[in-house]
């Protein structure tokens, strides 16, 4: 029997991970670039032998220079599983970022990069349990995969999204959100909406309306945001062993 530590870990992996899919590099061909905000764009790729993924999973992407220099980064998948050999990533243009910089200033449809994945089952959401999603900035990306999956499959399991952005013009996927989503604006907000950091007043009502059996909570964003949001969740009564956190880094 496998060793189980005396403290039950927060976050059991939700799915088995395909070792063969995770081990092989594949060519991904850029087919489309869509601007989301002034700083973020979505990049769509054809990956004909993509093994499929679950919302919340990520991949490893690498670019290779002429002298063999390689840069690789982990990126969350933005698209829901579609079984058609396409995936989408939404990337911020990071100041001085060598990989995001290439995507935002050089990349064009037809360009090829290499990917391996999907990786890690820990942050995956198979669509089986009620999901409370909290993200900030491009931390909304893996959560959007969950929301899109929920819609595409017509799932009736409850799902709520609390998403923080500096202002409306920086809210990625703004046009796609529906009644399940509550935006929080930290610097500038439309008339009638509060401006400021996410507070208990926004988190507690979501815990109050939790479905029978409670929420699985998924938090994604910078470390500072993840610390703040996870503290709000714990204070509002969300069990610590049902909070999964993905931090940028």
């Amino acid at each position: 029997m496998p060793f189980v530590p005396p403290t039950r870990f927060a976050v059991p992996g939700r799915i088995a991970v395909s070792e063969s899919a995770a081990a092989a590099w594949q060519t991904a061909t850029l087919t489309e670039i869509r601007r989301e905000t002034a700083h973020a764009s979505t990049f769509r790729f054809a990956v004909p032998h993509w093994a499929g993924h679950l919302p919340g999973q990520h991949l490893l992407l690498r670019l290779t220079a002429g002298d063999g220099y390689v840069a690789q980064r982990h990126y969350s998948l933005a698209s829901p599983p579609d079984d058609e050999g396409h995936i989408e990533l939404t990337l911020d243009h990071v100041d001085g970022g060598e990989v995001s910089g290439w995507f935002h200033t050089v990349a064009a449809p037809g360009d090829q990069v290499e990917v391996r994945g999907p990786l890690s089952g820990f942050f995956a959401w198979p669509g089986d349990r009620p999901a409370l999603l909290i993200g900030a900035g491009s931390g909304v990306v893996p959560l959007m995969s969950m929301l899109r999956h929920h819609r595409a499959r017509g799932l009736d399991v409850p799902l709520r999204l609390l998403v923080s952005a500096r202002g409306p013009e920086e809210l990625i996927y703004a046009d796609e959100f529906g009644a399940e989503t509550t935006p929080v604006f930290t610097r500038r907000a439309p008339e009638g909406l509060p401006v400021g950091r996410m507070t208990a007043a926004q988190v507690a009502p979501l815990l109050d309306e939790r479905p029978p059996g409670g929420w699985e909570a998924y938090v994604c964003g910078s470390n500072a945001f993840a610390e703040h949001a996870s503290r709000l969740l714990v204070e509002a009564g969300q069990p610590v062993d049902r909070i999964r956190i993905e931090r940028f880094g």
Partner: protein, 201 residues
């Protein structure tokens, strides 16, 4: 080699200390824990070694600090591709703890576990011989909670997910048992110099 059109990358740094596929994070120290940072005070912290040992035992904060001080000065490498050079951690060599419990000759592996329940598996050979520490200081100050304080394991010659934060104990075993990330597709050993990131590498 599949060259990416128009990609040149950062200026090349010829640093013999940088493992393949890694970049120098400079002053950044990203936090990547998958769980809520626990509110754990030194008074609540304890560290235990049991399993295949002659004499299982636990140490509280003061007992652990009574062991001979030892520091690690060097580099750390995260599987997400950043490396950090010239860091200094202060604590006690894991050898000092293991000497007290005397692992069985049949012991080959260990599972390190955290006060949060996080686990990581390691060959015993990677935990002995002055290559692993229980640390509570970073650059001469108390280790911050988000980096594993009050105390964490460090095994700096392996990818840093092996260096369990908020360390609670080691279970000594005569076989390998995958820990949290290892069950989620990561490599059983995680040697950055061989780029053992994922299972199958």
């Amino acid at each position: 080699m599949n060259v990416t059109r128009g990609f040149t990358g950062r200026p090349r740094v010829h640093n013999a200390g940088l493992p393949p596929g890694q970049y120098d994070a400079g002053d950044d120290w990203p936090v990547l824990s998958a769980e809520v940072t626990p509110d754990l005070s030194p008074a609540d912290w304890s560290f235990r070694i049991d399993g295949l040992v002659a004499e299982p035992r636990s140490w509280n904060w003061d007992e652990a600090h009574a062991l001979p001080a030892s520091a690690y000065e060097g580099d750390i490498h995260c599987v997400t591709s950043w490396s950090k050079f010239g860091v200094r951690f202060g604590g006690v060599s894991l050898d000092a703890f293991l000497a007290a419990v005397r692992p069985d000759p049949a012991a080959t592996h260990a599972v390190a576990y955290a006060h949060t329940g996080y686990t990581a598996n390691l060959p015993l050979a990677d935990l002995t011989g002055g290559r692993a520490w229980i640390v509570w200081e970073y650059e001469g100050r108390p280790l911050p909670a988000e980096h594993g304080g009050p105390a964490r394991l460090i095994v700096p010659h392996l990818y840093f997910w092996k260096s369990a934060k908020w360390i609670e104990g080691l279970r000594i075993l005569d076989h390998d048992e995958p820990g949290f990330w290892e069950q989620n597709g990561y490599h059983a050993r995680g040697n950055p110099w061989e780029e053992q990131r994922y299972s199958g590498d």
